[in-house]
């Protein structure tokens, strides 16, 4: 594991950080694009296909694909049972970005729920990643 680990830009830990940034970025892009194209009056709009009219969604798709490549690269060097728990940092960053960037009004009830989910994920991430490796 420690041998032959690429350094600099190719460093897998740096790429893991890049993966976290990509996830937060595409979640925000998807939300912004969805908001711009929302038309809940149409009953079939649940399938979300109208979102494709927004360039933000296409940008998000590019980031998702980029993120997939980064993630596969990370998993070549770092085991899932370590990489997955660390990647859950996004669960903290996404709600904070919703609050700071999207200006979503988050009630204290919702903050409490988010906190419980984050604590729960922190507890299960490692054993869950081990199970997923075997599935």
């Amino acid at each position: 594991m420690t041998n032959n680990r690429p350094s600099g830009f190719a460093n897998p830990w740096f790429q893991l950080g890049l993966n976290i940034i990509c996830v937060v970025l595409y979640e925000l892009l998807l939300k912004a694009g969805a908001k711009a194209t929302a038309d809940p009056s149409k009953s079939w709009s649940w399938i979300g296909i109208t979102g494709l009219a927004s360039p933000l969604i296409w940008l998000a798709i590019v980031v998702i694909i980029l993120d997939l490549v980064i993630w596969l690269y990370v998993l070549k060097y770092i085991p899932l049972s370590i990489a997955f728990p660390l990647s859950r940092l996004v669960d903290v960053l996404v709600p904070i970005s919703c609050w700071l960037i999207l200006k979503e009004g988050i009630s204290s009830l919702r903050w409490c729920g988010i906190a419980l989910v984050i604590i729960g994920l922190a507890i299960v991430a490692k054993p869950a990643a081990r199970l997923e490796e075997r599935l």
Binding site: E27, L28, L30, K31, G33, A34, K35, T37, A38, D39, P40, S45, W46, I47, G48, I49, T50, G51, I57, D91, V94, P95, C98, W99, L102, E104, I106, S107, L109, R110, C112, G113, I114, A115, L116, V117, I118, I119, G120, L121, A122, I123, V124, A125, P127, A128, L131, E132, R134, L135
Partner: protein, 114 residues
């Protein structure tokens, strides 16, 4: 939160987890039989189809709900994986997994009421 949106959220997460597992199987299959193998291609196609369904459902949901409302539900996908492992691998759930699962579920319930 209506029953209809709850069902859509569960289908969104379920197709996402299933798609991921199909991708993993396709990678394993490609390692053994190669990328042009018919089995590899069909597993990969199924994974892409499931991921596409999941992506558009996510968009449809985002058109209606706050991201800070929908995002915590993704915690349930870890629970889906854990339950699948319990069924498919006949794995016993440890105290740690049970405790975390309960916390995530409680958190999602609070978010759904907000």
């Amino acid at each position: 939160m209506t029953w209809w949106s709850l069902i859509l959220i569960l289908v969104w997460l379920g197709t996402f987890v299933a798609g991921q597992l199909f991708f993993k199987r396709a990678m394993e299959s490609s390692g053994v039989a190669g990328f042009r193998n018919r089995q590899t291609i069909s597993i990969l196609s199924a994974g892409i189809l499931l991921m596409t369904v999941s992506f558009f459902l996510n968009l449809g949901l985002l058109q209606r709900f706050d991201l800070s409302y929908l995002y915590p539900f993704q915690g349930l996908s870890v629970i889906i994986i854990t339950l699948m492992a319990a069924v498919i691998l006949k794995e016993k759930l440890t105290l740690r997994l049970t405790l975390g699962t309960l916390l995530i579920t409680a958190g999602v319930v609070l978010v759904s009421m907000s």
